[in-house]
């Protein structure tokens, strides 16, 4: 048994014996069932909100889809509950596709607000539709049964619920620890970096949205057969809000945080409901007041949730397995020495309103060549990078890579042609390890999808990706930091991590935006040596840099921009003597 599965197995064994304890009050089992049902929904939210950064208040509505689908089919049409299970999941997933196509594209706060709105809309729809029994809902739903065993009481359906929780927890953790999972985890930090390595961010968002909805649908299906009835109340706005609580209280980025959060919230509510009225003579909705206040207090004391707080107090830290670096990925065909230009920029132009950031700039990069793009701040260097990599679309001119026009290509297509980049402002996922960050660079070189990742059928593919990532980390000299969270490294080291990530693309052209900023002298020399070695291995490098000593030593050719216009191009020696460059950039007296 691997170390990963051990804690889960212990937890599963523990949960399995709880109902067998003699004298266990049945009420506690009901409570545990409710915890399990809430945990399922919250687990979806952990992936959606905590990991993916997409806040949804509408999850309760997806439970509603799951519950009502089985309620209608098993009462009005007499279908077996086991047959309605896939249909329930399909209906909630299908609803998620429709709503997701509309909502996941929304950025920032539009998304949560949008989900509140359709969440409430759906709640009213459930409570008004004739065939869903309006406000009274549907009763007389048949129990789950296996052979002759009918799961009539809380103690038997308990196993169905908690087996579902455990399976979903495993699937969710598998998903997060995979190629697709890294793409999802990168979503929260904005989409530009992920897209530069070929991640289809809208698809990743939709995927996690559907996944969360299917988990909610499963919870709804179980709920319907547990309660043997379905009415609109548990699928309303307040329930949707409560699921989000659970995820945040438990720790929104952690799968087990969902289970812990569900336990805390469900039990807390139960205690408040049963004891507060005794203390205060049963006046009003005291439990809501206290619950609200406790929630605010909890957020103020532990804004990241309880699970990470607990984990940081564990006496031992789970060790990570080093990837086996002997596995390799197929390499890209490299162009033989110089049959024409590798990258050709012809009259590229970019205007932001009246500002001309890049003014009809033309230059090219040959195979096996290091070209430096220099110029004062605001000269249009980073904008040129963004035009090449498809982050911005050019106002005019053409850009081509190995003869292929990439003017309007999105970043995901540009990277496929072998152009990899780093960013002037480091774009790593700070809470992911260096290894995982770098592995995002190899995204396009893996093929495992979400489903094979959940079922762990992706391990061969995954091992190769991680091996490649580890090799590139070793190559840039950060092997000692491989398991540290990327955010804990110094800024200079984070830039080097970005280079390793770009190298994972196996690029023919490497675009580096100020790679030496924040590095010490020795580190700069090591970087220069690495770049020369890459060039001699057949790679071309285009870099923006302000450190003139570094640039003059390293570059084969230099292009100088000033106010968006190219003012000079040539070898370092020619540039040093060019009067225009000296005037515009190095200073008139130099």
């Amino acid at each position: 048994m691997t170390q990963r599965l051990l804690p889960i197995s212990i937890f599963a064994a523990l949960m399995a014996v709880i109902p067998l304890i003699p004298g266990m009050p049945p009420f506690w089992i009901v409570l545990l069932n409710n915890i399990g049902l809430a945990a399922l929904v919250a687990m979806g939210l952990v992936l959606l909100t905590g990991v993916g950064g997409l806040t949804s208040f509408g999850q309760a509505a997806f439970c509603g889809f799951g519950a009502y689908t089985t309620a209608v089919l098993s009462t009005a049409y007499g279908m077996s509950p086991w047959l309605t299970l896939p249909l329930s999941l399909l209906v909630s997933g299908g609803a998620a596709v429709l709503l997701g196509l509309v909502t996941v594209r929304l950025s920032g706060h539009y998304l949560p607000l949008g989900t509140i709105a359709w969440g409430i809309g759906l709640f009213y729809l459930f409570s008004k539709l004739e065939f869903l029994g309006r406000n009274d809902g549907i009763t007389g739903i048949p129990p789950l049964s296996i052979g002759t065993l009918k799961m009539l009481d809380a103690g038997t359906i308990y196993y169905a619920i908690w087996i579902a929780v455990l399976i979903c927890a495993l699937l969710s953790m598998n998903l997060l620890d995979s190629r697709t999972g890294r793409a999802i985890r990168a979503l929260r930090r904005g989409h530009i970096a992920a897209e530069a390595f070929g991640v289809q961010t809208p698809r990743a968002k939709l995927l996690v949205f559907i996944y969360a909805a299917v988990l909610a649908g499963l919870s709804g299906w179980l709920y319907a057969h547990f309660q043997r009835a379905a009415n609109p109340t548990p699928f309303g706005a307040h329930a949707g809000i409560e699921y989000l609580f659970i995820a945040v209280v438990g720790g929104a980025g952690y799968v087990w945080g969902a289970v812990l959060g569900a336990g805390i919230v469900v039990i807390l509510k139960e205690i408040l409901q049963s004891y507060l009225p005794l203390l205060f003579r049963g006046e009003g909705q005291l439990e809501t007041i206290v619950f609200g206040i406790l929630l605010v207090l909890l957020l103020q004391l532990a804004p990241t949730g309880v699970w990470p707080w607990l984990m940081s107090r564990l006496p031992f830290k789970p060790a990570r397995k080093r990837p086996d670096t002997s596995l390799t990925l197929p390499a890209r065909d490299r162009p033989a020495a110089a049959p024409g230009a590798l990258l050709k920029i012809d009259n590229a132009r970019k205007q932001f309103g009246g500002v001309i950031a890049v003014n009809n700039v033309s230059f090219d990069v040959q195979a096996r060549e290091i070209v430096a793009l220099i110029g004062p701040n605001g000269a249009g260097k980073s904008t040129t990078f963004n035009l090449i990599t498809g982050v911005l679309t050019a106002t005019g001119g053409t850009i081509s890579m190995q003869g292929r026009n990439i003017d309007n290509a999105p970043p995901q297509e540009v990277v496929k042609l072998g152009i990899a980049r780093t960013f002037q402002h480091v774009k790593l996922v700070p809470d992911m390890s260096v290894l995982e960050n770098v592995a995002i660079g190899a995204h396009l070189r893996g093929h495992a999808g979400a489903i094979s990742s959940m079922l762990r059928l992706d391990r061969a593919d995954e091992a190769k990706l991680l091996a490649e990532a580890a090799r590139q980390i070793e190559r840039v000299g950060l092997i000692d930091q491989i398991d540290q969270p990327a955010g804990s490294l110094s800024l200079g080291q984070q830039r080097i991590v970005e280079i390793a990530r770009a190298l994972c693309v196996d690029p023919t052209l490497l675009l580096l935006d100020e790679p030496a900023a924040g590095l010490r002298h020795m580190e700069k020399q090591r970087l220069a040596a690495l770049l020369r070695q890459l060039r001699d291995g057949g790679m071309s490098v285009l870099l923006v840099e302000h450190d003139m000593g570094f640039v003059m030593d390293l570059a084969d050719r230099i292009v100088v921009l000033d106010f968006g216009t190219k003012i000079a191009e040539g070898t370092p020696d020619a540039i040093k003597r060019n009067p225009d460059v000296i005037k515009a950039y190095l200073g008139a007296v130099a």
């Binding site: 949560p112 359709w118 609200g292």
Partner: protein
């Protein structure tokens, strides 16, 4: 349908829409300055309305005590927060705002309650009480969380909503209440009857929209508030007190909420939990307005109000469904029109 019914519905829709516009404006204001999506806005509405109704009925509203209680806790927090440098001035200031102010409001309310006070006094008292609650709500719940993510603020906002709604039940009971109208005047234009109340709704809404527009566009304080919204750290570095900005935003929002409540409580019966739904409809307007534009929010609110009026006439069962799904086409348009901008979160 004949023209008269249509005119009635439009009139009804505009009156409702004006209220939603007020609430939408307050939501935009609070979000822009503090990044808080203010779910308790609905409670400001019900607190304002029911405090006014309670005062008009000659009783002492529980909200006055709540303001005092919240002030005492806020005072404690202020002392604790400033424990390393407790000057007399700091203590005196905290005491004046957190203790003297709510106690004075309580005393005034106590003095006037039970007497046959004029409507204007009751309105002023209700606004004062809810304003104090809004101010302390920011101090107690959101100021300690000001640096956290929008999500955490949102959940805290939900927590505050639950607590306040529960308190609403304690203070005002489960029965609905109505308040006396501000003006009984009424006149006819063609088949339409305009009441003084609805005229007041229109006038106050327009006044607030123009006022906020001018405040944010022209005054230094307004610009400081907007700067806080864009970048808290940057605003602090140029000397803007971000805490003050948050307090101003909450003060304005609570006054606007209470005022909306006072304006509608003579027209419709309000319950302790009605505010949530009313606030959410303000949300719809605010979202359509993109949480940034005041005029657009106001127009959107009128659309929401009108759609609500028409759907309650034709498909009253599906009124809420229609109103809340109204947002979907808008979201589609928005997502098509404005491509996502890169933003660094957390």
């Amino acid at each position: 349908m004949n023209t008269t019914i249509m005119l009635f519905l439009v009139q009804d829709g505009i009156t409702n829409g004006a209220i939603y516009a007020l609430l939408g404006l307050a939501l935009v204001l609070v979000f822009a300055v503090t990044r808080v999506i203010l779910i308790p806005q609905g409670e400001f509405v019900t607190f304002g309305a029911l405090t006014y109704a309670t005062l008009s009925a000659g009783n002492m509203p529980g909200t006055a005590q709540l303001a005092v209680a919240m002030g005492v806790v806020a005072f404690g927090l202020d002392l604790f927060g400033g424990r390393r440098s407790l000057h007399l001035r700091l203590v005196a200031r905290a005491f004046a705002i957190n203790i003297l102010l709510p106690v004075a409001i309580y005393a005034l309310t106590y003095w006037f309650a039970g007497k046959n006070t004029p409507i204007a006094v009751n309105i002023a008292l209700s606004l004062l009480i809810v304003a104090a609650i809004g101010l302390f709500l920011y101090r107690l719940v959101f100021q300690p969380l000001a640096h956290t993510s929008v999500l955490v603020l949102l959940i805290a906002s939900v927590g505050a909503h639950l607590a306040l709604q529960g308190l609403g039940l304690v203070f005002f009971g489960a029965e609905g209440q109505r308040g006396p109208t501000i003006s009984d005047a009424a006149f006819m234009v063609g088949p339409l009857r305009f009441t003084g109340q609805s005229i007041a709704v229109y006038a106050i809404t327009i006044a607030f929209i123009v006022g906020l527009w001018l405040f944010f566009g022209l005054t230094l304080y307004g610009k400081a508030l907007r700067a806080t919204a864009v970048n808290r750290l940057g605003a602090r570095l140029v000397g803007i007190r971000t805490t003050l900005s948050g307090q101003i935003a909450f003060l304005l929002a609570s006054v606007i909420g209470a005022l909306s409540g006072i304006l509608i409580v003579p027209i419709t019966t309000l319950y302790y939990d009605t505010g949530f739904l009313i606030g959410l409809k303000g949300f719809i307007a605010a979202i359509i307005g993109g949480l940034v534009s005041y005029p657009l929010t106001a127009v959107a609110a009128l659309v929401v109000g009108t759609v609500e009026a028409f759907s309650s006439f034709y498909a009253s069962n599906f009124k809420e469904v229609i109103v809340f799904t109204l947002i979907l086409p808008v979201l589609v348009l928005r997502s098509l029109a404005a491509p996502e901008v890169e933003e660094e979160k957390d």
